[in-house]
């Protein structure tokens, strides 16, 4: 569908599928200007304020930090550093409640501010950025901790590096701010339009893009006017176009805005860079300008505090890490009929139960809703298959099918219906006449699918390790058998070696034994030559012979054979001394066995 703009240059616009009209409620907070906030007593800086790995803290408890100083370094490529947003002392590095739908705590650096706002030494401004390599500028953007400020908080430096395979022709700047209630981007465009344009200029150079389209919903005439003025003053006016787009939720979605402005669709599971487009939020553009032209890290942002349960809704310029309670107090506190406190907008935000949570780089709005504004929908009714959700879906999905499969926990089928193209905008749930919490089903299915994938990876890894262990045990067993075999063979070979009468001289003990044996044998031989019979039973006295005979008779009576009886005394004599040696022999063996056991 074609929409035209009467007052300004006509540009063909497209329409994305679906979308809904919701009361924008922006008048609550878009009057006035952005107010500064006093420095809070404590700053709570989560180590993860971006998509990717948490940053690694490089300060210790008790360290003094200055405003703008790096307190946590990025760990990995998709990561961003964290900077102190005021000067003070680190009093704790511990788990604190963070803005997250789970309400869980995560590692944070807590700074007790000194109120002096002493700046750390900032990196040199790169005013001559046009002569610089894009990689240098990307490094600066990364070092200043800039992340996407539209809500997803993806590290900007990563998004600005689409790679050589994806030449970028168009930069899309997202000033749509389609969520109801939120006005911080509106105020930013009104008050800092020059900075946004500077940021655009840097981004155009960085990406090598031809043109820039700045999309702003037409319910923000002030912002459009201010941006047009800034564009007219800028030296890149022939490359930049300010486009007023029809107000329709969720035109501020990345893929939806690209569709509206260019008519092109981002492929399923793909990113805009695949069609030569990079999309950035207006706040991100301003933050890039600060980082490059002033060397200032991202330590402040505009936050809308609004909703009818807040006494004085307004926009505040907030230091990242300021507790939500401080902002609410500055806006006159909460009214009694508060139903819920939401971080983000009413459509995509999440409820928070603690006012202790800090404002992060991604937090654009604190919303206090009354019972009238956000009535309890009551229990969900059965789906009547009206199909309104499919009409409203801006991603052209089939929300009803997704719902059935998510409900029956059929995670494979739900992915066949492109669950991961769902942007969780909430249009389907908003139009659902049965009040089914559809988005919650999709979120459940998404996180569950990711968890399953992780578990699968872990299972494969465990299996690999288990097979490796089994193989190792088998190999060790084979080696042991082989060793035993060689030992046995060596034992077999020994008698042959004995026949040669060449005693092995390797072991001195064995050699000594062998020598003693030989001496004994020689002595025996000599005695035999002299005719001496070694048996000593011949010259026994009569009494002794009688004793022997009696003993033999006794043995016979017991039942021992003649030969055994004869061998008896001798055997007894030899057995006696051999016993201790046996126990001696088992002694060390037992010791080694017990050691092995241990």
């Amino acid at each position: 569908m074609q929409a035209t703009q009467p007052r300004f240059k006509t540009r063909r616009l497209w329409q994305f599928h679906g979308g809904i009209h919701v009361p924008d409620e922006k008048a609550l907070s878009n009057a006035g200007t952005v107010e500064p906030t006093p420095c809070p007593k404590f700053l709570i800086l989560p180590l993860q304020q971006h998509i990717g790995a948490p940053a690694n803290p490089i300060v210790k408890v008790g360290d003094r930090v200055l405003k703008g100083q790096v307190i946590a370094e990025p760990r990995g490529y998709v990561c961003a550093p964290v900077h102190a947003s005021s000067s003070g002392t680190v009093i704790a590095i511990e788990d604190r409640p963070v803005p997250h739908p789970s309400g869980l705590s995560a590692p944070c650096v807590v700074i007790e501010t000194d109120g002096r706002e002493t700046w750390a030494e900032l990196p040199e401004p790169l005013t001559d950025y046009e002569s610089l390599d894009p990689a240098v500028l990307r490094d600066r953007v990364r070092a200043c901790g800039v992340v996407g400020m539209g809500g997803a908080s993806f590290p900007t430096s990563v998004k600005l590096n689409p790679g050589k395979d994806h030449p970028i022709h168009t930069l899309v700047i997202n000033g749509a701010e389609c969520e109801p209630y939120i006005t911080c981007d509106d105020l930013l465009m009104r008050e800092r339009s020059g900075d946004v344009l500077q940021g655009v200029r840097i981004l155009l150079h960085l990406l090598g893009a031809r043109q820039c389209l700045i999309g702003i919903e037409d319910n923000k005439p002030g912002a459009i006017e201010s941006m047009r003025l800034a564009r007219a003053e800028s030296d890149i006016k022939d490359r930049v176009e300010i486009v007023a787009i029809p107000t329709l939720y969720p035109s501020g979605g990345e893929k939806q805005l690209i569709k509206v402005l260019t008519g092109r669709e981002v492929p399923s599971h793909g990113i805009p860079a695949q069609i030569g487009i990079v999309c950035q939020n207006v706040g991100t553009a301003a933050a890039v300008a600060d980082a490059v032209l002033l060397g200032r890290p991202l330590i402040e942002r505009y936050v809308t505090v609004t909703g009818r349960a807040v006494a004085k809704p307004s926009n505040l310029n907030v230091r990242v890490g300021t507790p939500a309670a401080d902002l609410i107090a500055q806006c006159g506190g909460l009214r009694d009929d508060l139903r819920k406190l939401v971080c983000g907008g009413p459509m995509m935000g999440f409820e928070i139960d603690s006012q202790a949570i800090p404002i992060t780089k991604a937090a654009n709005c604190l919303l206090a809703l009354t019972h009238a504004e956000s009535p309890d929908p009551g229990p969900a009714l059965p789906c009547i298959r009206c199909g309104r959700c499919a009409d409203a879906c801006p991603a052209s999905l089939l929300p009803q099918q997704l719902y059935w499969y998510a409900r029956s926990k059929d995670l494979d089928r739900v992915q066949d219906y492109n669950l991961f193209d769902c942007i969780e905008c909430g249009c389907c749930a908003h139009v659902c006449p049965s009040h089914i919490p559809l988005v919650q089903y999709y979120r459940y299915a998404k996180t569950e699918s990711w968890a399953r994938e992780q578990e699968k990876k872990k299972a494969d890894h465990a299996k690999a390790r288990h097979t490796a262990k089994l193989e190792r045990q088998e190999r060790q067993e084979r080696e042991r058998q082989a060793k035993l075999r060689t030992k046995k063979e060596a034992a077999k070979d020994k008698p042959a070696a004995k026949g040669e009468a060449v005693p092995s001289t390797e072991d001195p003990k064995k050699a000594a034994i062998e020598a003693a044996r030989q001496r004994a044998a020689a002595k025996k031989a000599a005695l035999a030559e002299q005719g001496v019979v070694p048996k000593n039973t011949e010259d026994l006295g009569a009494a002794q012979q009688q004793q022997v005979a009696a003993a033999q008779a006794r043995r016979r009576a017991v039942g021992l054979g003649e030969s055994e009886a004869k061998a008896g005394p001798e055997a007894q004599a030899t057995e006696q001394p051999s016993q201790p040696t046996q126990t001696k022999a088992t002694g060390p063996k037992a010791a080694t066995a017990s050691e092995e056991q241990a």
């Binding site: 789970s102 229990p379 499969y405 089914i436 459940y444 872990k458 299972a459 465990a462 262990k469």
Partner: protein, 188 residues
């Protein structure tokens, strides 16, 4: 009559020969069903199913109609996946007592360095040597609990893995509508 018998006999002979040939020519090594079952199992090698590991249990499920609800670490998800794979009714198997996911931890004060747990670990997640303190690599531990029994001083404990912001999952929506499940099946 004779021609008919002869024709049928000839057909039987030809088809029999063909079947015999194909069974030799396209013979599949191993047990493909057991492989698929094993792919579903969580590979903790915990033996809580009564078999000495995941592979033996997979073979038993594939061959001997063993119950599909014996995998404790896999829980309901694995049971449903097995039911789906084998075309069995998941309800007949009954529920599974699910345990929270845990990792083993060695009490450093009590470990005597006997190496018995080292030998029992199916995935080599325990490091150590005789008379040296042993340590468990938490990222490799599958939580199978096989190291608990051999320990002579009972210094190994299971510690549940805590949910963090990164591992947290959206819960299944609580306020269920009183719908008939037949609709879901119809949709499927």
């Amino acid at each position: 009559m004779i021609t008919a018998v002869a024709a049928i006999a000839a057909l039987a002979a030809v088809i029999g020969a063909l079947l015999g040939y194909t069974s030799l020519r396209f013979h599949i090594e191993g047990d493909p069903i057991a492989d698929q079952v094993e792919a579903v199992l969580p590979q903790t090698q915990c033996a809580q199913c009564g078999y000495p590991g995941c592979r033996p249990y997979a073979e038993a499920v594939a061959k001997d109609d063993e119950a599909i609800n014996k995998c404790v670490p896999g829980g309901e998800a694995v049971m449903l996946a097995l039911a789906d794979l084998l075309g069995r009714d998941p309800s007949e198997a009954g529920g599974i007592a699910e345990k929270p996911k845990s990792v083993a931890v060695i009490d450093e004060k009590e470990c005597i360095g006997c190496t018995l747990c080292l030998q029992s670990c199916p995935v080599d997640a325990i490091m150590g040597a005789a008379k040296q303190l042993h340590g468990i690599i938490a990222s490799e531990c599958t939580g199978c609990e096989l190291c608990l029994k051999p320990c002579p001083v009972e210094c190994i404990h299971m510690r549940p893995i805590e949910t963090t912001v990164r591992t947290w999952k959206w819960p299944f929506p609580a306020n269920q509508s009183p719908e008939v499940p037949a609709q879901a099946q119809q949709a499927a």
